[in-house]
């Protein structure tokens, strides 16, 4: 028996050694470099990137190590990593509000010497200007979005509601009336997102922008407690607390709950990002895939959304910048962006990409109309303020949003407190 045990031990040790040697041989056989790319975990487009990038890996012999970070932690983790200058990440996805902060902190390399004139001309919508800081370009756009209004066509017909058009989006009064009409025991007219995260703050800012308000003016002065801003936040609060046309759990909701509830048929309308279109129109993921359409958000003083996007930047502490740039060029090429857009419907960022989409015979009429709406929303869109301190300002606005929606403070009180704190943040 002892002899058997001894033989088993020897066999196991040999197996382990061989497995180790195999790993070493495999590592030695790889001819190219391995770059680390930080992306948002769980984002629909990331899965597609990973598949599309296999072609680049085969062409170049390089490998990508995907560093997937949950969206709510992404900013903090990237800031800690980049400020340590360890070089562990070579390229990174960047949400547009972070661009100025990262560029001002020296986390990103300028790309003016790397991007070709042809590519510069091909990116539309003034995107490259938005991704520049102090006159230098710091990221290449690959995903652009402005929230749109998703609405249930069957419920609009059932309740005799006017469907919005490109020329005449719903007015604020029509939006409220439609929400009230559609709210019954099973369905809520709309949804308000108010959890402690970035996307709900963006939605709050949209409500403020639609009333003609602003957050920070051109002199870096906060304007969050002025009447238009208070009016915008008050309307959000009233949707939950006064009119009760939005689910009461608003403080726990973000964009994922938004598209989930809409897909389950629990909402009559929802303002959400374009990424949700692919999910809601997929019969495998949605019970309302054939019963919805999108439109521009409602109009108060004006109809507008936050326009933002994700871009890709080159980390300044990377030791493999040329390889990382080669990948960025590949994944943001017209062909790859077109492939991405086919599977995750969203506005194109390149003119050549738009031409390819428009010429695509497989695009359905509904998709063409949706694309038109998304592009118009981008055109009408308003960006968030470009500030290095934006993350702190955004976090402070998140507290104000939660205090107002929970009823702890009135919108005026919540925004007065936010105004005071934001003034301190910007003056430090």
């Amino acid at each position: 028996m002892n002899r058997i045990i001894q033989n088993v031990r020897i066999a196991f040790a040999v197996f382990i050694m061989m497995a180790g040697c195999l790993g070493i041989v495999q590592a030695a056989a790889q001819t190219g470099e391995t770059i680390a790319v930080a992306v948002q975990a769980g984002a629909p487009e990331v899965v597609i990137y990973q598949e599309l990038s296999k072609a680049w890996e085969e062409q170049t012999g390089n490998r990508i190590e995907w560093v997937e970070i949950p969206q709510q932690n992404m900013h903090d983790k990237l800031v800690i990593e980049f400020s340590s200058r360890s070089g562990a990440i070579d390229a990174t996805a960047i949400s547009e509000p972070w661009l100025v902060e990262f560029a001002a902190s020296g986390y990103l390399d300028a790309l003016d010497d790397r991007i070709s004139d042809e590519d510069r001309a091909d990116f539309g919508f003034n995107l490259l200007t938005k991704l520049s800081y102090d006159g230098k370009l710091y990221a290449i756009p690959h995903y652009m979005f402005a929230p749109v209004l998703y609405y249930r066509t069957d419920l609009f017909e059932q309740y005799g509601l006017r469907k919005p058009t490109m020329e005449e989006p719903l007015t604020k009064e029509e939006f409220l009336a439609a929400a009230q009409a559609m709210t019954n025991g099973d369905v809520f007219g709309t949804i308000v997102e108010a959890n402690r995260n970035v996307p709900p703050v963006h939605h709050m800012i949209e409500y403020i922008y639609r009333e003609g308000g602003q957050i920070i003016d051109e002199n870096r002065q906060p304007r969050v407690n002025e009447p238009p801003a208070v009016k915008g936040l008050q309307f959000m609060v009233d949707l939950v607390r006064k009119y009760k046309v939005a689910p009461p759990g608003a403080l726990g909701f973000d964009h994922v709950d938004n598209h989930t509830l809409f897909s389950q048929g629990k909402l009559g309308m929802a303002i959400n990002w374009p990424y949700a279109y692919s999910i809601i129109s997929d019969p495998k993921q949605s019970t309302v895939s054939d019963k919805f359409a999108i439109a521009l958000p409602f109009k108060a003083v004006k109809t507008t959304s936050i326009v933002g996007g994700y871009s890709l930047g080159l980390v300044s502490s990377s030791r493999k910048k040329d390889v990382a740039w080669d990948w960025i060029k590949f994944i943001t090429s017209t062909e790859q962006l077109y492939n991405l857009r086919k599977r995750n419907f969203a506005p194109p960022v390149r003119r050549s990409e738009l031409e390819m989409l428009q010429a695509d015979p497989t695009l359905s009429q509904a998709q063409r109309e949706a694309l038109e709406v998304m592009l118009k929303a981008v055109e009408n869109g308003t960006p968030v303020p470009s500030l290095p301190e934006w993350n702190q300002v955004s976090d402070r606005l998140s507290i104000a949003l939660q205090e107002a929606v929970s009823g702890q403070k009135s919108p005026q009180e919540a925004l007065d407190a936010a105004q005071e704190d934001i003034e301190k943040i910007l003056s430090r």
């Binding site: 709510q72 400020s83 001002a104 689910p247 009461p248 403080l251 726990g252 709950d257 507290i399």
Partner: protein, 313 residues
């Protein structure tokens, strides 16, 4: 020859371990403990010292080439004037008092139950230890799904019982209650485990003698068991209090400090200052004040439970 050899043996014996004999036993003990001391210094003393140092400086994040600026006590002043720090301290104290008390009561009750000769008590004890084996982040995620108002199990059960299910995580009145529930659930097994061990050390003769003298269950508990367990209880409360003060994972997963700041604590706010805003100066000041607060509470607790012990002696 033999005498020479014997003398040589004696001489060799005297010098056999010359190093040990020359050094005092205290020095020897110190040298033996030196690797651990160095490890502790590297892992605790240096970071703590660096934290204190940073708390007197302000870093300009957006001018990475500019050296940190000495600001004296300004970071401490800023923190004390920050309205959310006051809220964070209040929430922290509420969580500490509530979760430690509840965990102690539940842990003591179960320990006393397991003190009885029950069938299957070993299995019961093992099952009740399971919350201790789950990482706080995982526990937080599990409870998040339980508490969710739209698809959560707890509200679904309450609905079946025709009871209104609150917005556990979205209502400021219930958010901290939810955190306390999770904090209690993760920590009562520790209390139970230590008290079970403490009860095992209670002399049975004293219990038997008290029973013979006519003492009832509550009298035995109050006048014999609890006094004998006092040192154990003090250790439990101290450790639990320090753990509760540091609560972070549960809150980060469940509410992120919201709604508003109703569940923001010293740890979560210091994290936000340090890692979202990269304001290590303010975060350091806040952390130091937290350390001072927990030290003060620990001293009070020791004096409260320690004094009676001295009086008894």
């Amino acid at each position: 020859m033999t005498r020479t050899i014997q003398r040589a043996e004696v001489k060799n014996k005297d010098t056999a371990r010359p190093f040990r004999r020359q050094m005092s036993s205290r020095m020897f003990g110190f040298l033996m403990a030196l690797p651990s001391i160095l490890a502790l210094a590297a892992l605790i003393a240096y970071p703590l010292g660096h934290l204190v140092y940073n708390s007197f400086f302000r870093v300009s994040r957006f001018s990475p080439n500019v050296a940190p600026r000495f600001v004296g006590l300004q970071n401490y002043v800023d923190v004390l004037q920050d309205r959310y720090v006051v809220a964070a301290c209040g929430n922290t104290l509420l969580f500490v008092i509530a979760s430690v008390s509840l965990a102690f009561i539940i842990g003591l009750a179960i320990a006393l139950l397991l003190y009885q000769p029950l069938h299957g008590r070993i299995l019961i004890r093992a099952l009740l230890l399971s919350p201790l084996m789950i990482a706080p982040v995982v526990a937080g995620l599990q409870w998040r799904w339980l508490f969710t108002d739209q698809y959560g199990v707890i509200n679904a059960i309450l609905e079946h019982l025709n009871l209104p299910g609150p917005l556990w995580l979205a209502d400021p009145r219930f958010a901290m209650i939810s955190i306390i529930i999770v904090g209690t659930w993760t920590s009562f097994p520790f209390v139970m485990l230590v008290l079970v061990s403490g009860l095992a050390g209670v002399p049975e003769e004293m219990i038997e003698a008290a029973t013979v003298d006519g003492a009832g269950y509550w009298q035995r508990l109050r006048y014999i068991l609890l006094p004998l367990l006092r040192p154990t209880i003090l250790v439990i409360l101290l450790i639990r209090m320090m753990d509760a003060f540091r609560v972070f994972d549960t809150i980060y997963v469940l509410t992120q400090g919201g709604p508003g700041v109703s569940t923001e604590t010293i740890s979560t706010y210091a994290y936000r200052l340090a890692f979202s805003n990269l304001d290590f100066g303010s975060a350091g000041a806040m952390s130091i004040m937290g350390v001072l607060l927990v030290t003060l509470l620990s001293v009070l607790l020791i004096r409260l439970l320690g004094e009676r012990e001295e009086m008894q002696l």
